[in-house]
């Protein structure tokens, strides 16, 4: 009863917002703002993500637009550059809202930039759709109008991979991480998750960004007697680690690398064999999608729109695309671009939607509770295959990983 009342009130508010002079969407389209990083640490990931959003925009517009208040409104994406710079981000989100008059916004890549963007969108009362910010702290700040459409918090990301490790009978975990927000958060999450599962964390080693030589870190990990090697760094460092493991004959029965699922990592060839990773985007992962494109349609759209892209779609693209699809549902449900109405619609849709990145479920703070990351392994011959959880697994994990000398 209460809920119905509130919905009625919100609908009324929405109607008001819509008829108010100079209100949003007055010019027959929905303008969505977001930033891309042309340079800096986030350039690659950010650009991967934007392609996802662009696929969604293209798809929506081909279908005539989003249905809002009985009308079909096309979507327009306004992209500006943030150079991976926090200062720039705050400024650009403000520009997007006040000068570009966008109706709602997609977050930039990463938690730091998203935090900066969120303070601007909160103040100017706009809805912010998050697709990549995973910092748990972001959701404890009391932001009212943010929703993580597809990205699960970093603390929960290592859960599946350590479940598998436990299942395989490993005992000791060595965690190595670069001192950057996301990898560090992942490492802390992994440490907690390992302890919860009764695994012993025998090494927790940090190194600064820009480190080039991992030979000693690897040897320390070997010396710690770990059977699970869990480095949480970006692709470049992981590539170096694998190569140096081979150069120094270092073997672990279970090696999990977050970014081993990316095409950039797999470009190194057979040295990457047997590494475990996780992803939400893979030919064997097919959720029952009820919002947006399914995986096959998505891949086709990607190839059509970005024939020249150097790499195929990756999980950033999928997260961002999924966020687009969910945002579309939210807008249609809300029938308005008013931030509070959108947020309510986002909560109402929680648990109702599944996009190609997985099922969507949020709590009051906008934190994502679902969107699981299945574990994959790079198996020779087969390539990347899903090995965990059993619901989506298509192959048995190869464990222990064969030593370099036995390959």
């Amino acid at each position: 009863m209460l809920k119905q009342l509130r919905n009625a009130a919100l609908a009324a508010a929405a109607a008001l917002a819509f008829t108010a002079p100079g209100a949003d969407a007055a010019d027959d389209k929905i303008r969505i703002g977001m930033t891309v990083s042309s340079a800096g640490n986030f350039a690659l990931a950010s650009q991967s993500g934007v392609r996802g959003v662009e696929i969604w925009v293209d798809e929506v517009n081909k279908a005539g637009g989003l249905e809002v208040g009985g009308r079909k409104l096309p979507v327009e994406l306004v992209k500006l550059d943030d150079r991976s710079d926090k200062q720039m981000t705050a400024r650009v989100y403000e520009t997007l809202i006040t000068d570009e008059k966008v109706d709602l916004l997609f977050a930039p890549f990463g938690s730091t930039l998203t935090a900066a963007a969120a303070t601007a969108t909160e103040r100017l009362d706009k809805f912010l759709v998050i697709w990549s910010a995973a910092a748990d702290t972001l959701y404890d700040q009391g932001f009212k109008n943010i929703v993580s459409a597809t990205q699960m918090p970093v603390s929960r990301m290592p859960v599946a991979s350590l479940d598998l490790a436990k299942e395989l009978g490993t005992k000791k975990v060595a965690i190595v991480y670069v001192d950057e927000p996301f990898p560090a958060g992942l490492a802390t999450g992994a440490e907690a998750a390992a302890k919860e599962r009764g695994l012993e964390v025998v090494l927790m080693e940090r190194y600064p960004k820009g480190a080039k030589d991992f030979s000693l870190i690897l040897q320390k990990a070997r010396a710690s007697g770990a059977d699970v090697f869990f480095p949480t760094s970006y692709e470049g460092d992981l590539i170096s680690m694998v190569r140096q493991m081979r150069q120094m004959n270092i073997n672990f029965p279970y090696t999990f690398m977050v970014y081993a699922s990316t095409p950039q990592f797999q470009a190194i060839g057979e040295d990457g064999d047997y590494i475990y990773s996780h992803t939400n985007f893979h030919p064997t992962i097919n959720w029952e999608v009820n919002a947006g494109l399914n995986r096959e349609q998505f891949v086709e759209a990607y190839d059509r729109l970005f024939p020249k892209a150097e790499y195929p779609a990756d999980f950033q693209t999928v997260l961002a695309y999924g966020a687009g699809a969910i945002a579309g549902e939210i807008i249609e449900k809300a029938g308005s671009t008013d931030a509070a109405v959108l947020k309510q619609a986002a909560l109402d849709l929680s648990g109702e939607l599944t996009v190609l990145a997985g099922p969507y479920k949020i709590d009051e703070t906008g934190k994502q509770l679902a969107m699981p990351f299945p574990v994959v392994q790079l198996q020779p011959e087969k390539g990347m295959v899903t090995v965990w959880p059993s619901e989506v697994a298509v192959a048995e994990p190869i464990f222990p990983i064969p030593a370099w000398t036995d390959r």
């Binding site: 891309v36 042309s38 340079a39 640490n41 500006l80 550059d81 150079r83 710079d85 926090k86 200062q87 720039m88 981000t89 705050a90 400024r91 403000e94 520009t95 809202i97 006040t98 000068d99 938690s111 730091t112 935090a115 900066a116 969120a118 303070t119 601007a120 909160e122 103040r123 100017l124 910092a135 702290t137 972001l138 700040q141 009391g142 932001f143 001192d179 950057e180 927000p181 560090a184 958060g185 802390t188 600064p208």
Partner: protein
């Protein structure tokens, strides 16, 4: 008095003329300062997009205070961003972790900046590139130390989010006040005898000592002042964006831009850094809109061109070209 000197006193018209020059110079600076501060004070009433003006103020403050050390004493602190980062972290940690209200946190940030500058004072013994390299190294060290502090204090590499303090309107007006204070302090320093002493030390430290200037103390004054403002600005920026992390707070690009902006305007004059910051920040903004991918490249090219072609900046080149007018330039 003139008679006792045997008729060698200044001609009366020269004396009054020179006194007028001094007055005009000070008035000009007051006009410039008001011309900068007043429109910025009015800006919130005209537009909702505060960020452009906020960062304009940020760069003017940073460049003006950088000028106090680079322009007036001749040191090139490549690690200038350290003060900014320390201020940001002092503000963030005191406010978020220890619950100090924002004004208190900002005052402490200023004190932290001053304290760090005293801690680093021994580096002033070094000269030229040695000073530059050490300064840069210290900025990296500060960043490493901050990211190694316990996570429950500084938030580790994730940094801190201060969203609860979000109040850009107030932040903006406080920044206007800090800007006014910074311009006033720079003016006071430049027109006071300390300003003459500073430039004397910059031009030739030995000669300055010979004429009775306490070189170490004079440098220290400028150094502390030049460190306090960026620390406050770091705090203000943390307050404004509500997010700090080691990467952004100790980003070497901050130093790069401060150097470029103030050198483009002309180090050693009050007007230069203000002009440089205003002009290049504006250009940077345009470049970024038109050529998003190559903006950094332009920044780099501008640095090279500035130093090779106009090493004294806009104001400095103007002064060289028009020697008669330069006495009026603040």
């Amino acid at each position: 008095m003139a008679s006792s000197l045997g008729g060698v006193a200044a001609p009366a018209e020269g004396r009054s003329g020179d006194a007028r020059v001094g007055r005009i110079r000070i008035s000009l600076w007051i006009v410039v300062a008001l011309g900068v501060v007043l429109p910025l004070l009015a800006a919130p009433a005209l537009t909702e997009n505060l960020s452009f003006s906020f960062y304009l103020m940020l760069w003017i403050i940073l460049c003006t205070s950088f000028n106090l050390v680079a322009g007036f004493t001749g040191y090139m602190p490549f690690g200038y961003v350290a003060f900014y980062g320390v201020g940001a972290y002092a503000t963030g940690v005191l406010h978020k972790t220890y619950g100090l209200p924002m004004p208190g946190a900002l005052v402490c940030a200023a004190l932290a900046g001053a304290a760090v500058s005293l801690l680093l004072a021994p580096t002033l013994r070094l000269k030229g590139v040695y000073f530059g390299i050490v300064s840069l190294a210290l900025a990296v060290i500060f960043r490493l130390v901050v990211s190694m502090l316990p996570e429950d204090i500084t938030g580790g590499s994730m940094g801190l989010i201060l969203a609860r303090a979000n109040d850009p309107q107030t932040t903006y007006y406080v920044t206007v006040a800090v800007l006014a204070a910074c311009l006033a302090a720079a003016g006071w320093l430049a027109f006071s005898r300390t300003g003459v002493a500073l430039r004397a030390v910059r031009d030739d430290a030995d000669a300055a000592a010979i004429v009775g200037i306490d070189v170490t103390r004079t440098r220290l004054k400028a150094w502390v002042l030049a460190a306090t403002f960026p620390a406050v600005v770091g705090g203000l920026e943390a307050w404004y964006t509500n997010a700090i992390d080691p990467e952004a707070s100790f980003n070497i690009l901050v130093t790069a831009k401060v150097i470029v902006y103030s050198m483009a305007g002309g180090l050693g004059t009050l007007l230069g850094p203000v002009l440089g910051a205003g002009a290049l920040y504006g250009i940077d903004h345009l470049i970024w809109q038109k050529f998003p991918v190559l903006n950094l490249m332009f920044l780099g090219i501008i640095i090279m061109v500035m130093i090779l072609v106009f090493p004294r900046g806009l104001v400095g080149s103007f002064a060289q070209r028009f020697p008669l007018l330069r006495r009026y330039i603040p």
